[in-house]
């Protein structure tokens, strides 16, 4: 685990998950796990978010919404897929309405498996996401910053 030097702001979107991972993401932010001690803050605004946390797979109806949310976020940005459904489609892979994991629509940086993913695993995934975020931010700065 690297040093956390930037406070990541999260944007949480429920793809087509069963709610299990969603409430675990929320549980991460509450007293027992308290990801806020790492500076993680849940925001509802995609334009202020650094890390997009997606639970659940992609279906034809939410594909456009996910893409739109990703496009609205400013560079640099990181995508963390939470739960086995977001990684590959999980138990719903064979359902007629599921196109697959989140990586069918947008590039994913960190995969957190589990059904439902445990808060410890989610926090670990977010910290890995922050490392990637810092690398990208440094690279962007060396190029002359965000246009």
């Amino acid at each position: 685990m690297g040093k956390v030097s930037k406070s990541p702001w999260l944007l949480h979107y429920d793809g087509s998950s069963c709610n299990g991972c969603d409430i675990e993401v929320l549980a991460c932010l509450t007293p027992v796990y308290d990801a806020e001690r790492l500076g993680v803050m849940n925001t509802g605004d995609p334009m202020q978010a650094d890390i997009l946390v997606i639970t659940g797979g992609i279906n034809s109806q939410n594909q456009a919404t996910v893409k739109q949310l990703y496009d609205q976020m400013a560079d640099p940005k990181v995508v963390v897929a939470i739960g086995v459904c977001a990684c590959t489609g999980g138990v719903f892979k064979e359902c007629y309405n599921i196109l697959g994991g989140v990586d069918t629509t947008i590039p994913v940086d960190v995969y957190v498996p589990g059904c439902a993913a445990r808060p410890q695993a989610i926090i670990d995934g977010i910290i890995k996401g922050v490392e990637i975020y810092n690398e990208r931010a440094a690279k962007l700065e060396s190029k002359g910053g965000n246009q």
Binding site: D14, N19, G20, I23, L26, Q61, N62, C95, I98
Partner: protein, 360 residues
């Protein structure tokens, strides 16, 4: 008359963890009409019955919803047990009751937290979720997982709760009860909380009945409906009286759900004291189901029904779940009429929406 405009609400919205989309027709700041559109999380879970055999489907049905997953599994198993004419041992029935009530406790605490977050009382939100973690620890202790714990099977349950664990459950729920008594004061007496909840989002008893509302949402409008009185699982061995309120507003919904946590604590105590000495927790099931049946049960959010049609092979013909949120969305749209735009987020929360269940 002011100019009418349409404001979209969702699918991604800070107040909701799940995507629901409402088109709000507003006149100045007042909502005239709300038009819901759902389908963002539709997976097609019911279609999987063609591909997975009926035993494997138990684990998939539990993944209909992560919050009330145990009750989904229980409903599906009970339906198949009726079709296959299997009599579940008493101990398994009472164990199911205990897990179902633990599920209800964590669901209601979750909702109270989200409600507090909805009206901007973040501290209260944290307190509710802190207490909720204790219930989740009990899930983990007794079943091995926090949310989706797959202890149901057709013919009984997979794990027993021994005496040491029973003691831990009893101690923990007493702690939860004590801490709830502290929080209750804020929910019931705090001036700011009352000003956000009292008299907001009124749904009359007649309307609630007409629109077929279910669960705590209907009980808060004075309808005495509680399917636990149907005596499924081990509820036949337990005394309970449905909690209702005649206030019909958001405050009443908060009141009903908070009081139901105490009721669940009471039911768990009764169920543990009535656990029989016979340690059989499941009976073997042979052959494949043939026939059809409907089971109804009371989830934390209200009535859910399970329909199964089997044809004598391991693969079922049809499996259908009707979930409580689907019944309550109509009530929500009625309730949203003539409310302030600022209250919409909170009012959507008061029906305790579980969109994942609804769209499957």
């Amino acid at each position: 008359m002011g100019k009418r405009s349409v404001i979209p609400f969702g699918p991604q919205h800070p107040v909701l963890p799940e995507p629901i989309h409402l088109d709000l027709v507003v006149e100045d700041e007042r909502v005239i009409e709300a038009i819901p559109s759902i389908g963002f999380i539709h997976r097609g879970l019911e279609g999987l019955v063609k591909k997975k055999d009926f035993n494997t489907m138990t684990y998939i049905v539990e993944r209909t919803c992560g919050i009330c997953s145990f009750q989904h599994g229980m409903g599906y198993c009970e339906t198949l047990e009726h079709i296959m004419d299997v009599e579940v041992p008493d101990r398994a029935k009472l164990l199911r009751t205990i897990w179902a009530e633990l599920n209800r406790m964590h669901s209601h605490l979750l909702w109270l937290g989200l409600l507090a977050d909805g009206f901007g009382y973040e501290n209260l939100f944290y307190q509710c979720w802190r207490i909720r973690e204790k219930v989740l620890d009990l899930h983990e202790l007794t079943a091995g997982a926090r949310l989706i714990f797959s202890v149901n099977k057709v013919g009984g349950v997979l794990r027993d709760i021994d005496e040491d664990k029973q003691k831990i459950i009893l101690n923990t729920i007493s702690e939860v009860e004590k801490e709830l008594l502290v929080i209750e004061k804020t929910f019931f007496n705090d001036y700011t909380v009352q000003s956000r909840l009292k008299g907001v989002g009124i749904l009359t008893k007649e309307k609630a009945h007409e629109l077929g509302c279910v669960g705590p949402f209907a009980r808060a409008s004075g309808l005495n409906v509680d399917l636990r009185k149907l005596n499924y699982a081990g509820y036949g061995m337990i005394d309970l009286e449905p909690i209702t309120s005649n206030d019909c507003d958001s405050y009443a919904r908060c009141y009903v759900r908070l009081k139901e946590i105490y009721q669940s604590i009471d039911i768990i105590r009764q169920a543990i004291s009535k656990l029989p000495a016979d340690k059989t927790i499941s009976v073997p099931v042979k052959g494949n189901p043939n026939g059809e049946f409907i089971t109804r049960l009371e989830q934390p959010r209200g009535e859910a029904f399970y329909y199964v049609k089997a044809n004598g092979t391991p693969y079922l013909d049809r499996m259908r779940v009707r979930t409580p949120t689907f019944a309550n969305v109509l009530g929500l749209c009625e309730m949203l009429k003539n409310t302030e735009l600022a209250d919409v987020g909170l009012l959507v929360l008061t029906i305790d929406p579980c969109i994942s269940c609804t769209e499957r």
